[in-house]
Symmetry: C2
């Protein structure tokens, strides 16, 4: 069984995942008449579960749409105590160090994980726990907002796997973490 | 005559153009046995002059290589007073507002300009004076350093023109500023 932690996320040219007030309207700036999923469903097939932070979780809840995930979701939070009743079997709250959390998730039989949310991705990268990056750049400079990447103590080298342009405007690059020799 | 201000620059996945001490060793992280210029000579053919900041200028001088530019270089600086004798006819010092500087450069007959250097690119973007971005992403997360982009007061929308992968590892995307309607 594979045990990859995969990031799949969209950013502006200047590396923001949301505007200063959390704005994500620009994610729809390019018309997508045929509703191209841009690799999302392929990702969902590859992963066994999703790991996200509290902010992402609450953002999704705030959309007031049917629960969108077909895989189990682990929410990292030290403050959340409860999850809505109807999500009891779809969502688990977890806390502790990322290493502990991952060990626990893997023991439960989940292999490949989709790591979602800005802070969560940053924390995983800090500990060099990301195996694959799938980053989609939209053709806009936001100028300010929530950055995808944070400060790291070390450089992380990746290997470029492939790049595909969606809708003639969105550039999606896949990178694999270079294994240390 | 075209009057485009074009950025051509390399960055890390996380948007740095140099490490915290100005490190640019990672620019050579991908072997380039056939010395692919990755669009640099095509750019040089397209532009009539180069505009760069003092830091970039002094960096190039510090390389102790023959002067590498075939087009006239305008150096933006309020502090530099002199340029080396052998560069008198190749380099001009300019100061003032970017609008004044550009007006002056264009009056001198230079149309398309290659805008180089981190701070200079940021200052041009602040005033929405960039028409084309040609950004090459290298497969590394630096974690800290000199960022390509700075804070802006406004969003800037671009149109994706093309993306090409060099050496199977470097992703170069060309963007054109969307004209306001």
């Amino acid at each position: 069984m594979e045990h990859k932690n995969i990031v799949f996320i969209a950013k502006s040219i200047d590396g923001f995942i949301a505007g200063p007030k959390g704005e994500i309207d620009w994610l729809d700036m390019v018309p997508n008449p045929d509703e191209d999923d841009m690799g999302y469903f392929a990702l969902m097939k590859e992963v066994d579960a999703i790991v996200m932070g509290r902010v992402s979780f609450e953002t999704v809840l705030g959309f007031n749409i049917p629960w969108p995930y077909t895989k189990h979701v682990f929410v990292l939070s030290n403050t959340l105590k409860n999850i809505p009743n109807e999500l009891q079997d779809k969502v688990s709250l977890t806390q502790g160090s990322l290493e502990e959390i991952l060990s626990d998730i893997r023991k439960k039989g989940f292999g490949n994980l989709y790591i979602d949310g800005g802070k969560t991705v940053q924390n995983f990268l800090k500990k060099d726990l990301i195996h694959e990056l799938r980053i989609t750049s939209l053709p806009i400079i936001l100028g300010k907002g929530f950055p995808l990447f944070g400060i790291l103590d070390q450089r992380l080298e990746f290997e470029h796997i492939k790049t595909k342009v969606y809708l003639n405007q969105l550039v999606q690059s896949h990178y694999k973490r270079k294994t240390q020799s």
